[in-house]
Amino acid sequence: MTLPDLTAIELREAIATRRISSAEAVAETFAQIDRLEPTVGAFLSLFRDEAAARAGDVDRRIAAGEPVGALAGVPVAVKDVLCTTFGATTCGSRMLERFHSPYDATAIRRLLNADAVIVGKTNMDEFAMGSSTENSALGRTVNPWAPDRVPGGSSGGSAAAVAARLCPVALGSDTGGSIRQPASFCGVVGLKPTYGRVSRYGLIAYGSSLDQIGPFGRTVADVALLLSVIAGHDPADSTSVDENVAPIADYLDGLDEPVEGLRIGVAPAFNAGAEPSVRAALEAALDVYRSAGAQIVEIDMPHLDYAIAAYYVIATAEASSNLSRYDGVHYGYRTPDPADYVEVYTKSREEAFGQEVKRRIMLGTYALSSGYYDAYYLKALKVRNLIRGDFVRAFEKCDAIVMPVAPTTAFKIGEKVDDPLKMYLGDIYTISANLAGIPGISVPCGLDENSLPIGLQVLTPAFSEAKLLRIARMYEAATDWHTKKPAMVQ
């Protein structure tokens, strides 16, 4: 096994015991990036010098016997939606192409406090709006399993980086599936924590009642490790949850212990919309849980079919408000020659936003506008409550719900770019978790007839990440899908 194949946990162990140095690990990471990044295109920026300096510092402290953090010396990539005081923070947009944040996101601070080595910032759909990373204004990322296919999105760069062994772990953000769907498409593990579990301070806002930061890794344990580092209350985000109400844990603790008396909920009618290979992989996964002693319970989720409709009103409404801050005045792009002050706004926004961002701002503005507010926005909030109710009722009958992550495997680059509605419909299985605020994970569970990865989604009630991770680990421990590698790293 070569160094890029090591998990974050193996790597930190090797570094802590001085079998290899962090400097070597980081050098090998950049060697791998040099080999594969020209094809994959996972990154928008790389921090070679800073990473080498941090790695050297960690090595010195370990050699001196000083205490080091939980990710000491481990290379990590972060989605370029997270504010960093080093490098630019672009959000994949021309609007922020030259934006340098005056502060670090809390999740970034926590990584650095844990002595992680941030190697670069990853590509994404502009302002996290998209499901393929094709909406990035600043780079093109391909799926490491099939370079003519999308990596998924919006955290496509982070998923592709982990799949191509450019780094063992990465952070992304998930507003409607933007961690779980690219994890599924790229054959890695991706976790969207409960809303409020991870501070959103310094996460560039898209849909503020839905956005959540979460980890990617190649194993459930690596994702658990990263969650342990980034989770917790933050006074700078008043929606981050009070730990007295919902305690955080060392999510590696007890991870390998199977959940006794596990009841898995399945909604067959809802899952029927997935393509045959995805449904077959789901059925096989249910057999794995049966063999592990779980009981499969049929549940009814009558309102999930309305999740996309509600989501594309609520998320775009919030986006239209959040993105009004890009005014060409305070930071970001300004049109070079405005005729008057109104054009500073209208032309700056016209010139620097991409089509999908404009489309969502338009849709959200319309849904909030006078005369349409009740019919669209208020209606969507009520449907959101019905969807939440589906989960509340389901979790009375089961501990976890299992469903596909996406109806298909990775689609071809360009296949859906001209049909936004078609692109939105692919979000059917991921969106409900954001509307209900609950945690969800994607775990590799198969390969389709084109050798493209399929993901298994597991959902549990709010703030039960410890249990969610153990349930995901039960599946992973019984199968070897997570060990499959794309041809480019064989």
Binding site: H100, P102, Y103, T194, Y195, G196, S209, P235, S238, T239, D305, Y306, I308, A309, A310, Y312, S320, S324, V329, H330, Y331, G332, Y333, R334, A339, D340, Y341, V342, E343, V344, Y345, T346, R349, E350, F353, Q355, K358, R359, I361, M362, L363, T365, Y366, S369, Y376, K379, A380, L381, K382, V383, R384, N385, L386, R388, P420, L421, Y424, L435, G437, A462
Partner: protein, 102 residues
């Protein structure tokens, strides 16, 4: 699909959103927004009478803190990203101009 939103409405929304869309974008968005809104109207199949709107998925209350003076980023770091600045101010074109009625 019936016309749910016409070009005139799209222009009005673009003005509200402070987006100076081109004519071809107006055309494109009229069709696309119409299709998306048509899909969204699927929500009308559901009877939501008596259902409370849910703006936030978890119980949340106001968060109070002591009103203490703490360090802030400071003018220079805030202005460092300004497209144009004048000393400690953000600079914009003249606002009191006859042509600039919004």
């Amino acid at each position: 699909m019936s016309q749910r939103i016409d070009a005139e409405q799209v222009r009005k929304v673009a003005k509200l959103a402070r987006l100076q869309l081109t004519d071809s974008e107006i055309d494109e968005f009229t069709g696309q927004l119409g299709a998306i809104l048509g899909y969204v109207e699927k929500m009308n199949e559901l009877d939501t009478d008596g259902v409370e709107p849910l703006a936030h998925c978890l119980p949340i209350g106001n968060v109070f803190r002591e009103d203490e003076i703490k360090p802030s980023l400071g003018t220079d770091r805030i202005l460092a990203n300004a497209p144009e600045r004048d000393g400690s101010f953000f600079k914009v074109p003249k606002i009191l101009d006859d042509n600039s009625a919004a």
